[in-house]
């Protein structure tokens, strides 16, 4: 009995620790600038929506959201289109072993290398092609990075699908190509979903790459937009908190909806 009470207390404490910071962010986003400096409050004494209106008016949050939406959608979709076939090839065919494992290794490499290592060369390279501060430039980079991730994850999902299913179809007269579309793709559905989820979250949240490659609301994404509120001299606390809330909400909703796939994705991906 004592065990259960302790466990309950522990769980409550954990949930509070996890969620309280979000609550704090929300509260600050509703306070007037002059109030924020006069001390903390559990709930604002005179709440205001001006931080949010400022955010979309003066601070271009609408543009940031649009950019993020476009860039994330395009790069994740393209990377799935490019990466899944490649993962399929690596999982199924005996490419000359060097090529196969070299492919896998470089896919891993790009995924694992911290962004800071890639940012400077990317900057110089994009500069050469005039693709700085440009949604297309960001899409290209994110597609490349996501492709490696897609290959890595899909390769293990696809390898789980028993060869017999395909072989049966081939015996029946299907070509490899149509077998791939007809049979493998539906079975790989959950894997695709899990991969897409992780790719969306990672791309939406990326900061460093977007920060260095963009300079105006023409191409800046939500995380970068949030950081622009930290100026050289001023920090706009109220709008910054509001921006934090706006930045977090889409992902929180997304995560709640796909919670199921998270664990399944990790199970399939990590264990194998």
């Amino acid at each position: 009995m004592m065990n259960r009470v302790l466990k309950l207390i522990a769980l409550i404490a954990i949930v509070v620790c996890c969620l309280f910071p979000f609550w704090w962010l929300f509260v600050v986003s509703l306070r007037h600038r002059v109030d924020i400096f006069s001390g903390p409050a559990a709930w604002p004494s005179n709440p205001t929506g001006e931080n949010y209106t400022d955010l979309f008016g003066q601070y271009h949050m609408g543009a940031f959201l649009l950019n993020s939406l476009v860039i994330v959608t395009a790069s994740v979709v393209i990377s799935l289109l490019i990466g899944t076939p490649a993962a399929y090839a690596l999982a199924r065919f005996d490419l000359p072993t060097k090529l196969g494992s070299a492919g896998l290794m470089s896919a891993l490499f790009v995924r694992m290398v911290p962004a800071i290592l890639l940012v400077v060369p990317f900057y110089i390279a994009l500069g050469k092609f005039g693709l700085l501060n440009n949604r297309l430039g960001l899409i290209i980079i994110y597609t490349g990075i996501n492709t490696s991730f897609v290959i890595w994850m899909m390769q293990s999902f696809l390898a789980e699908i028993p060869k017999e299913i395909e072989e049966a179809a081939l015996v029946d007269g299907d070509s490899r190509w149509s077998a791939m579309w007809r049979i493998i793709l539906p079975l790989a559905g959950p894997g695709l979903a899990a991969t897409a989820i992780f790719a969306v979250i990672a791309t939406y949240n990326d900061f460093l790459v977007a920060l260095t490659m963009t300079s105006t609301p023409k191409a800046q994404t939500v995380p970068v937009g949030i950081s622009t509120l930290i100026g050289k001299i001023q920090v706009e606390w109220g709008p910054m908190a509001a921006a934090g809330v706006i930045g977090a909400v889409p992902i929180i909703i997304f995560a709640s909806l796909v919670q199921r796939h998270f664990v399944r994705g990790m199970t399939l991906g990590a264990v194998k």
Binding site: K7, L11, V15, C17, C18, P21, F22, F37, P40, S79, P85, A86, A89, F93, D94, G103, S106, A107, L108, M112, V113, P114, I116, L118, V120, P121, I124, A125, I140, I141, G144, I145, T147, I151, K163, E167, L170, D174, W177, Y204, N205, F207, P223, V224, I226, S227, M240, A241, G244, G247, A248, A255, Q259, F262, V263, M266, T267, A270, V271, K272
Partner: protein
Amino acid sequence: MTTGLASTPVSGMDAHSPRRPWDFDRLLPYLLVIPAGVALALVSVYPIFEAIRASFTRYLYGRPIGSAGFSNYVDVAQDPVFWQSMATTVEFVVLVVVIETVLGLSLAMLVLNEFRGVKFIRLSILLPMTIAPVVVGVIWRLIYSSETGFVDPMFTALGLGAPRVLSHETSAFVGLVVVDVWEWTPLLFLICLAGLQSIPQEPLEAAAVDGAGPIRIFLNHTLPLLIPILAVGVILRLIDAIGTFDQIYVLTRGGPGTATQLISIYTYNTAFNFTDYGHGTAMLIALLVFVSLLILVAVSLMRRASQRTS
């Protein structure tokens, strides 16, 4: 990857018909791989070459003005701030990974069983990981900040002195560790949960029947099966932690003093704010070598993990 192409019946062709030198099915795997290969080459090979080239170049006012030989590397090796930020990074990374692993494992065991509300609890635990690191930085800056935050008034209300987390070197470093733990323990939690859920129960039950206590069961049966998976997560987290940037950028910019100046912040400042591409890229290449070694370890661990569980 057991049977190769040669042994599978090729569609549309009788086994006795002459093979055309290029038939679609033979080429298919290569065709499938090429677009991805190009994409990967663009984002990995090209930038790395650029970085290596830049690290051997001398820059003045942002323009390349000729070869620097190894002088950039020599300068970096002699730069005490570089080594200091590497040391700070190592300290930070080891600390957070250890704490997150222990905490993640404990949490996973706590919510392993299904009970009412477990879904909500699991979601709550996961949330910090899903939001952008920039937002995490913003949240915790608002909490730690002396004049506007939560920490100082709370401590004062409890009768303790206000810690002023961001005003002292040690407390700022610890504060940063706390932030990282809050943000990334969910990842280790998730990995452990998945691992624990995939462990077959019968051997555990058999051991319990045999009279083994819960600790013994954990050590002898659960942990060994968990370790391969855990290792993957730990290495992943280790590598990611080296690149921690966003939260620091928002919280402290590397201060107070150099207490939170990890290698990522220092490199960023050098390359961009001081426009020192030559030295900046030399630092990056040095870091790259270091991380590559870690990746090799990670890959071999993962190979062993997959061998063991298949």
